[in-house]
Amino acid sequence: MVKNKIEVRNLNLHYSQNHALKDINVFLPEKEISAFIGPSGCGKSTFLKTLNRMNDLVDGVRIDGEVLLDDENIYDNRVDTTILRKKIGMVFQQPNPFPMSVYDNVAYGPRTHGLKNKAQLDEIVEKALRDAAIWDEVKDRLKKSALGLSGGQQQRLCMARALAIQPDVLLMDEPTSALDPISTSKIEDLVTQLKKDYTILIVTHNMQQAARISDKTAFFLLGELVEMGETETVFSMPTDKRTEDYITGRFG
């Protein structure tokens, strides 16, 4: 039996008057890839951000319910979000490297968490860049600005940056939507590789992508979790009519 890394119970999220997430219950198994699909504005990105409390930064957000990470509620008053976000890394939709060198981008996380030893930093940076399958492309330009990389390289750099803090969980918010097909396939290969060490959650607009890489798929609609199950099942014989309409392109 696979252990659940994250358990979400009765999660409701209000944004001012808007009820953006409605009574979500989800179990996310350890070292699996879970994909969240659904039309724009259905709340899947918002849901992703509740898992590492990035919604705390938005004014007027109210969250009820429980999100358990290894059986600890991340919305407990005693939670240090710094440590939480070290355990749950995030890759954003737009590649967002810092205006620093490639090396400093990857070393940023470890340095934040107090690592100063140069040899150790060098080792972590190299490992993270190798894990993100970008080492060969950047090893000769580690001290050059990260902003000079192509979009696809920048996104893999951002993945390396997230991996360098050695998280348990990796949240990815439409990580390939701004990339060309070749970069997209590199990222997909990468995500599949990373599964052996990380619990991965990926929000995507691309249903083929969800079908290709994920173990579990969840379908969101208007702030509700309509259906979640084994990816194959969801795509071949969805139990809900709305899921079927969406994945067959008959939707609305």
Binding site: L57, T81, T82, N96, P97, P99, M100, G109, T112, V125
Partner: protein
């Protein structure tokens, strides 16, 4: 529509009559605007060159080694502004040391910590109004508060504190604008890695905003150097050099800056001296601009020093 626009161009050619595309020369308004804009730009450049040239021609003869290294003395029969140069530097340094940290700090508070709302808008509005108050009012306020009530009299310190109040809004506003230009996704990227807010501000926001912050500081220096009204009744018009190396206690003595001395010389009809001072003022402003630019570059180098260390990774990789 097209008929109308052609008519504005000064040519009444119906589109049906002539279908040729070779009508670039018919765009008279575009050309006229181009000439006007070009002229406007030339006027500003010529004005700058004209003023600097005029000041140099009139003032350069007054600038002698004696003029910049001695103080005016009836006994020795010298006319010099060494004291005023030193006073100016004193006031620039003290004012910036006081105003820059407070200004940057309050900008960081307003932009990054305060919840946007009525209170922040009130502070921002106040800052803007403060920036627009005539400097003589700062002089009056500074004289009464620091000079009389707090008993500092006419002194470089009184003047610097007064100017601190005056340039604080300038530095705050500029820093705020600079912080606003830093993309939001830098913030979420850093916070998503589990940084504390202050670490994020220190390592990502401030370095990215630094060019804008430095522009604010340069503008502030400009205001300090050019100020006379706010200083006349606070820092006074002393023109002596610090006695026997008493550089510290000089701060509590009266000290007129170059601009104050320029004003005094003009009011006494000593135009040669006045133009001489003007030359030195322009030179100081240019030098300070250069130094600040160099400091900006130093700052960038300091950032890339971390980067240089990363070369080791590459090297060790090659060894393998």
């Amino acid at each position: 529509m097209s008929d109308q626009s052609l008519a504005i161009g000064g040519l009444k050619v119906s589109t049906t009559e002539n279908n040729s595309i070779m009508k670039k020369n018919n765009r008279m308004i575009d050309k006229a605007v181009y000439v006007l804009i070009y002229l406007s730009a030339s006027v500003s450049v010529l004005l700058l060159i004209g003023i600097i040239g005029y000041v140099l021609v009139k003032g350069i003869s007054a600038v002698t080694p004696e003029f910049v290294t001695t103080v005016t003395s009836a006994v020795k029969g010298t006319t010099g502004i060494a004291g005023n140069i030193v006073n100016t530097l004193y006031i620039i340094v003290i004012t910036l040391v006081l105003a820059t940290p407070i200004g940057i700090g309050s900008a960081i508070y307003l932009n990054e910590y305060a919840k946007p709302g009525r209170f922040v808008r009130l502070i921002e509005m106040t800052t803007e109004i403060l920036a627009g108050i005539p400097s003589i009012l700062y002089g009056l306020f500074g004289m009464v508060l620091f000079g009389i009530t707090l008993g500092m009299g006419y002194s470089i310190l009184t003047g610097s504190l007064t100017l601190t109040l005056m340039i604080l809004p300038l530095i705050t506003r500029n820093t705020q604008e600079a912080l606003k230009t830093v993309p939001l996704n830098y913030r979420s990227a850093a916070l998503g890695l589990g940084t504390t807010k202050w670490y994020m501000i220190r390592t990502v926001l401030l370095p990215s905003a630094m060019p804008g912050i430095i522009t604010g500081v340069i503008l502030a220096i400009g205001r300090i150097v050019g100020e006379s009204a706010a200083l006349l009744f606070t820092a006074g018009s002393g023109y002596f050099l610090p006695k026997n190396g008493q550089w510290l206690s000089k701060v509590l003595e009266s000290g007129g800056t170059l601009s104050v001395q320029l004003y005094l010389s003009m009011s006494k009809g000593q135009y040669d001296t006045a133009f001489g001072i003007a030359v030195i003022l322009i030179a100081i402003v240019l030098i300070i601009n250069l130094i600040t630019k160099l400091l900006t570059n130093r700052f960038n180098v300091a950032r890339s020093a971390n980067v240089a260390r990363s070369a080791n990774v590459a090297r060790s990789a090659k060894k393998k």
